[in-house]
């Protein structure tokens, strides 16, 4: 057993346990914290795979930004009205159904897929040679050179979603006093700067 294997089992074990805790703890804040723990360990798995760029992006985007906002919202909820134990049982049938669907999909995919790496060159846009490049460079050249159109499209879709949600929630409130910094800075003639001599005072 090598150290790599040991760290793999460590990370994946923690992921499994913390994912289980996400759905089994009663306190929603604890759930989010366990979710963050499993994100972090997933990043650890990426590092073992030598995909350090993906690992860092996972931490920056999911843990550093998305989960913070998530925790932010959950913390402000009143979680004292927690779900009763017997209430959980009623969700079991639908849970089993979804589980069966997922397993069936996995089995179908695994049966029909031949893991033939020589097939990669048959792709509509064959991947270029990445030997000697760091994986940051490799991802960059695929994402921003080969698939630039899809990248830009997804960016535009996100922008539209963002503007849409801002427009939907924007309310003009009346009677709100706002500080206009540029007006304050341009204000002339109402303030005098006076050099006050010591012991003399000044006439206002």
């Amino acid at each position: 057993m090598t150290a790599q294997l040991l760290t793999f089992y460590l990370f994946s074990g923690v992921i499994l346990i913390s994912s289980l805790m996400v759905i089994s703890t009663k306190n929603p804040v604890h759930s989010v914290l366990f979710l963050i723990l499993s994100f972090l360990n997933a990043a650890g798995l990426f590092v073992i795979l030598h995909a350090e760029f993906l690992a860092m992006i996972l931490i920056i985007v999911y843990v550093g930004a998305v989960a913070v906002l998530f925790l932010f919202v959950v913390m402000m909820l009143d979680f004292k009205t927690s779900i009763n134990k017997d209430n959980i049982l009623q969700y079991i049938p639908i849970g089993i159904l979804i589980g069966i669907v997922f397993i069936a999909e996995l089995i179908i995919v695994l049966i029909n897929t031949k893991f033939d790496l020589s097939n990669i060159q048959v792709l509509p846009n064959p991947l270029s040679d990445f030997t000697g490049k760091s994986n940051t460079e490799a991802i960059g050249s695929v994402l921003y050179t080969d698939y630039i159109l899809y990248f830009q499209l997804s960016g535009v879709i996100l922008l539209v979603a963002m503007i849409g949600s801002i427009v939907l929630t924007l309310r003009e409130r009346e009677g709100v006093k706002r500080q206009v910094v540029s007006e304050q800075l341009q204000r002339q003639g109402k303030i005098d700067l006076v050099d006050v001599k010591s012991g003399k005072g000044v006439d206002v």
């Binding site: 057993m1 150290a3 040991l6 306190n27 804040v29 604890h30 914290l33 963050i36 350090e52 760029f53 860092m56 992006i57 931490i59 920056i60 843990v63 550093g64 930004a65 913070v68 906002l69 925790l71 932010f72 913390m75 402000m76 760091s134 994986n135 940051t136 500080q179 910094v181």
Partner: protein, 337 residues
Amino acid sequence: MIYLAQTYFIEVMTIILYCLLIFIPLLLGVVMALYADRKIWAAVQKRRGPNVVGPYGLFQVPADGLKFIFKEIILPDGSDKTVFLIAPIITLALSIAAWAVVPVQAGVVLANINVGILYIFAISSLGVYGILMAGWSSNSKYPFFGALRSAAQMVSYEVSIGFVIITVLLCVGSLNLTEIVMAQKTMWFFIPLFPMFIVFFISALAETNRPPFDLPEAESELVAGYQTEYSGMPFVLFMFGEYINILLMCAMTTILFLGGWLPPIDIYPLNAIPGFVWFLLKVTFVFYLFAMVKAFVPRYRYDQLMRLGWKVFLPLSLFAVVATSSILFFFNLAPGM
């Protein structure tokens, strides 16, 4: 298991030794930074500052530390005790972990990883969790307000820090911290990227909750913010984590803009001085600026803070990314093109 122990024993011991080589100077650095902070602040206000314990008051900080160790750890009755105690540990552990990739001299770095700058960015973006967990688990109003303010503040200023880092990376062409420093051999980046240097400096103040952006612990409004319920050792962990983060931000400013361990001019008496001395001098200088800002500038109001982050720094740094990449592209200056 025995095989594993035999194979990796020496390796693990070396790693632990290296970790101590980072941790102990860092601890000394924090002690000196705390002392310097109070002394500079005092000098600006024409006070003496700490001057009783030891020569020139140098032992004031260790004495304070000892005092905190012997104090009782108070756990508030309604608090979530596990989260309450984990929060300061996370803050300290994360702030130390980030130092693993900081190069203090050519080749002198614990982990010279390819994505060094992303690693530091990722670790410092995790720092907000210590504060959020502390604020929430205290089960008290002031810590909670402090944590909410802090989360909003750190997330906002991280965005502009990210863009500033991208402008620097555009000029370097690598995410490796050593290569970022080596790219500044001809010119330190604070000259061509001066506006970004200012944005980074101010954002670093906000990111580390330093005055004038210390709203999460504003004593006039929130008692002590997220630290209100903490006492004894957990409080010291918060304090140390915070100062290690401040030193990290000073080191980042040095690496990204002030040429890391490189001497100002590459001539004989200057380049004979070992690199880590230059690094240390530059970090000290940036920390001096941090301390002076603390002494000079009054605290921002919360809406002013948000305005500065989202309406001034974000457009400015976004524009800088586009402008820098356009200039590099049209004048064929971009590395690797």
